[in-house]
């Protein structure tokens, strides 16, 4: 059927899964490799949207081969990739009747809270569904990173209580978290009221926005070289 493909067995020895996806995205035989790769992403705290979309597509082509546990893991990893729209990108490929299952419903609610900046509700809800995340290392940290990211797009200076709520920490653990950010990400703690000054970027300090106005790429200018010459 016009498939110009080599057998994946002989490839997987020399190819990484990423390369496999690039070369053979429409080969049903790579499905087990991709499933293993999802597990590997979970344990090794790595992430590949390409590979996961490829797997969801193969499930879409052959629904009878779908493994909902793997799908759930893909969705958890996608949540951890916020602020990218990856969670939606995955849901676009998951049939509605599958999305109706309890575990997916819970994930969809969690994504909704993250999408609408409601971190407190998110953490409350996550606590109720801890079984979904316990086996996924780095989950909390990833969400905290997203929270910090979103706060620093929005705030120059953020009250400590707002931060605490967003990253779901208090007391010593919050202190430690802030200390870490002070050392690594340039956060500053104000002496008088404990507010946090977030690092400057073009979104919370619009004056930093580069004047991207005129940036004509060389290849466009190259088109008039003959004239100028």
């Amino acid at each position: 059927m016009g498939r110009e493909i080599q057998s994946p067995q002989e490839q997987s020895e020399s190819y990484t899964v990423e390369q496999l996806v690039a070369v053979n995205p429409f080969n049903p035989e790579i499905l087990p490799d991709l499933e293993n790769y999802v597990n590997e992403q979970v344990t090794s705290q790595t992430y590949s949207l390409e590979a996961n979309l490829c797997l969801l597509r193969l499930y879409q082509f052959e629904p009878e081969r779908m493994n909902t546990h793997i799908v759930a893991q893909i969705l958890v990893k996608a949540l951890m990739a916020m602020p990218t729209p990856d969670f939606s990108l995955c849901l676009f490929l998951i049939p509605e009747r599958v999305q109706m299952e309890e575990q997916f419903k819970a994930l969809i609610v969690l994504s909704h809270y993250l999408e609408t900046g409601r971190f407190q509700q998110f953490w409350d809800e996550a606590a109720k569904n801890s079984q979904i995340f316990e086996a996924v290392p780095g989950f909390e940290q990833a969400i905290q990173a997203y929270a910090s990211h979103l706060l620093s797009l929005s705030y120059q200076k953020v009250p400590r209580s707002v931060l605490a709520e967003a990253v779901n920490m208090d007391g010593a653990s919050l202190e430690k978290f802030i200390e870490h950010q002070v050392t690594n990400s340039g956060w500053i703690v104000e002496k008088e009221n404990g507010s946090i000054v977030l690092p400057q970027n073009e979104f919370n300090h619009p004056e930093l926005k580069k004047n991207t106005g005129e940036n004509v790429p060389l290849e466009h200018i190259a088109r008039i070289f003959p004239i100028l010459g």
């Binding site: 110009e4 429409f26 705030y155 979104f203």
Partner: protein, 523 residues
């Protein structure tokens, strides 16, 4: 697969139903005008007269169809084969047109759908094996890819309407489970992209080492353009198939080798130009990259607005108008979610207001009625989503042709819901340069912590992540918070003078040359 032309048994009765029973259709009867058509076409193909081939496809084929084959198919391939030396490739091409005409004017039977797929398989295999030494018009090559994807989509829709299938049809579906199989379709498109090495060709083209774009993909040194250009169009085909599947990210990835900020081979065929931008824009809408969608919709709508009259006679005219309307609807949706009207050209904007002005005002209100309009415009303008898997025939036979569409619609409306409070914030941000959280909370009738979440939502939804992972602002009005005070920032779109000057320099140079020639002649 070579001589698979069992079309003699295409029952004439089949067409009587559709043609209102006038006289019956004899697939073996070849009128003189058709004889002359195939003979000329065959000669022009052999002699690589691209322009003549193009004319015959675009004009003669349409005129003959209109005159002789309004309600019946063209003569079967066996009947015309003797006039073209039984040329294998020509027969494949003829059948490709034969089916295209059938799909456009009549309703294909399941058997015909399957046969058309087999014909595409044979045709693409011949091309992939590199034995086609022809120069075919871009328009025709685009039509092949476009039609291939269209027929795939049409087959998926057809198959999904299981309820009213006859037992015979079910049996045929089971028997031919390879026909229009999603793996087969995708693998053909991918194989064309790979075998043509089009991605590398475009890379080299950028560095000036290839003349692909400059020659519109044609090969003037005796070679064939067929594989190269089919490979090129297949990237657009893959974008479209992935949009039909709901995989927008991967779809855009397939398009990446084509630089859509520039003219290219994809702009040489209006249908391709529109299909590319339509799917690019739609995918970006779903990825929440509204500014990218708005920018490209604006460009193509302006182009269509300015050039519409030149396409009036084209067989694609109706299709152009339909996509034009759909893209206005999508533009209305984008601008309702992300009011960047400054990015829209004046004439496009006035068209937009005329068509959707009132609806856009209602969408801004984000009440129940607004959702109805978002629903309506999305449903009108979205691609025809498909369920690519074969049904399980054991279960009770139900129609599932709407499933894929309903899922995408639901997801989209969910997104709209998440953004419903943003229009309110925007209204206030517009009129203040700074305002305290407490005051804004009071105005919006929410408590302060809710307001903080709304502000975070605003930031999140107006900032998208681009394909390189960078954060891009889509906001017309932005803000930052310092402790308890909100400061408003109005973003001004960067004016782009560079392109304007480049174009004017080229134009001025052209005028200069004419002037110089004139001066020389007149001493």
């Amino acid at each position: 697969m070579a001589a698979n032309y069992e079309y003699d048994d295409a029952p004439a009765a089949n067409y009587e139903g559709e043609s209102g029973g006038e006289g019956g259709y004899d697939p073996n009867f070849v009128p003189d005008s058709v004889k002359s058509f195939v003979v000329h076409m065959y000669r022009h193909i052999r002699e690589k007269n691209v322009y003549e081939i193009h004319q015959m496809c675009e004009t003669s084929f349409q005129t003959l169809s209109e005159r002789l084959f309004k309600e019946t198919p063209w003569p079967c391939v066996e009947a015309i084969a003797p006039y073209v030396d039984n040329d294998h490739v020509f027969c494949l091409l003829y059948r490709e047109m034969w089916f295209r005409h059938l799909y456009a004017r009549l309703s294909p039977t399941l058997k015909q759908r399957i046969d058309s797929y087999d014909n595409y398989c044979s045709l693409f295999q011949v091309v992939l094996h590199g034995v086609v030494n022809m120069q075919l018009p871009n328009q025709w090559l685009w039509d092949m890819v476009d039609e291939f994807v269209y027929q795939f989509q049409s087959f998926c829709q057809f198959r999904a309407k299981l309820k009213n299938k006859t037992e015979q049809e079910i049996a045929l579906l089971k028997q031919h489970d390879k026909a229009w199989n999603v793996y087969g379709v995708l693998n053909f498109l991918q194989a064309l992209v790979e075998k043509s090495t089009i991605v590398q060709i475009l890379e080299q083209d950028k560095d000036g080492l290839e003349q692909f774009t400059a020659t519109d993909g044609y090969d003037y040194s005796g070679g064939s353009n067929v594989l190269k250009v089919l490979g090129y169009f297949s990237m657009v085909g893959l974008l479209r198939v992935h949009c039909l599947l709901g995989d927008y990210h991967t779809g855009l990835k397939w398009l990446q080798p084509i630089d859509i900020t520039q003219q290219g081979v994809y702009t040489s065929v209006i249908g391709c130009h529109i299909a590319t931008i339509y799917h690019y824009g739609f995918a970006n809408l779903m990825l929440r990259r509204y500014v990218d969608a708005v920018r490209e919709f604006n460009k193509i709508l302006l182009y269509i607005y300015k050039t519409k009259q030149y396409h009036q006679k084209s067989p694609q005219y109706e299709q152009i108008l339909k996509k034009n309307e759909q893209m206005y609807a999508l533009l209305a949706v984008c601008l309702s979610l992300c009011p960047q009207t400054k990015l829209v050209d004046e004439s496009v904007n006035s068209q937009l207001r005329e068509k959707y002005g009132e609806k856009m005002m209602r969408m801004q209100r984000y009440d129940d009625e607004a959702f109805v309009i978002f629903d309506e415009l999305f449903s009108y303008a979205c691609p025809k989503f498909i369920t690519p898997s074969a049904p399980s025939f054991e279960e009770p036979l139900v129609n599932y042709n709407q499933d894929a569409y309903r899922l995408q619609l639901k997801m989209f409306l969910y997104e709209v819901k998440q953004q419903q409070l943003l229009a309110g914030v925007r209204t206030f941000l517009k009129v203040y340069s700074s305002i305290s959280l407490a005051k804004l909370a009071k105005y919006m009738e929410v408590d302060e912590s809710t307001l903080r979440t709304i502000l975070l939502t605003y930031k999140h939804k107006t900032h998208s992540v681009d394909s390189d992972g960078r954060i891009i602002s889509n906001a017309d009005i932005d803000f930052y918070v310092n402790n308890d005070k909100i400061y408003v920032v109005e973003t001004k779109p960067a004016k782009r003078h560079g392109d304007f000057f480049l174009r004017q320099i080229a134009k001025f140079d052209a005028v200069h040359i004419v002037y110089h020639a004139f001066k020389l002649r007149n001493g």
